[in-house]
Symmetry: C2
Subunit: 135 residues, 2 copies
């Protein structure tokens, strides 16, 4: 039996001492969690297939894993309706909603500085790729 709450990479102990925000980063920014939380926050309570279709490139297996993980962490609420065919609804919890200022800060930083990152990449590539390519 596979463990559907499995997390990508357990952090070495030392790196947590070197950086106190590592635990939060693992919870909130592990792979796929950001699109899932964002979609749940944006479109409200929805079913499994809706989530799957909106995110688009995620597979059912991984979506299940991540939803279990988020449910276990208390960021997402799962409601199971024992009908036929079965119906399951997911929604963001209060704890999950408390992340919204964080996401807002991220969006603000992105709008203000993402362009500078891209510019820095162009500079770096121009300076380091084929540095002997002069006329």
């Amino acid at each position: 039996m596979t463990d559907m709450t499995s997390r990508p990479a357990p952090a070495p102990v030392h790196s947590e001492q070197a950086c106190p925000i590592v635990p939060v980063v693992e919870i909130v920014f592990s792979r796929w969690t950001t699109p899932i939380l964002w979609t749940l926050n944006e479109y409200g309570r929805q079913r499994f297939v809706e989530l799957e279709r909106r995110i688009g490139t995620i597979t059912a297996k991984v979506l299940t894993q991540r939803l279990r993980q988020l449910e276990r962490d208390g960021l997402v609420l799962r409601t199971y309706h024992p009908e036929v065919p079965p119906r399951v609804e997911y929604e963001i919890s209060d704890l999950g909603r408390s992340l919204s200022p964080l996401f807002a800060t991220l969006a603000t930083w992105s709008a203000a500085h993402l362009g500078r990152v891209e510019a820095a990449r162009l500079d770096y590539d121009a300076a380091h790729r084929l540095p002997a390519a002069r006329t």
Copy 2:
């Protein structure tokens, strides 16, 4: 030749459309970048081995990869002194420093809510592990 600026996992296009902050998350919260930026911000300009020792569990190869990536993204500045033995110093850039409110928000959320995540995990595990273990 190995590419020292390689990034863990290139995001599928669709997930960016589903979640506008995915690009920033990949830049700032890819593996090891948080401890590196935190350490550079906390202890100031320092050499390669100092970073390596402070973070503790990272290997030299991966540290080099991540530093190259951060340098390319313009978040970290690298200064090479052509001495013998060679001396290289790393420091956080202005662009990197502009992330500090984001990190502060993270630290605040962590202090306020991380305990609730842990409590949610205990609840989840108690409810789901060995649910038939009754007397």
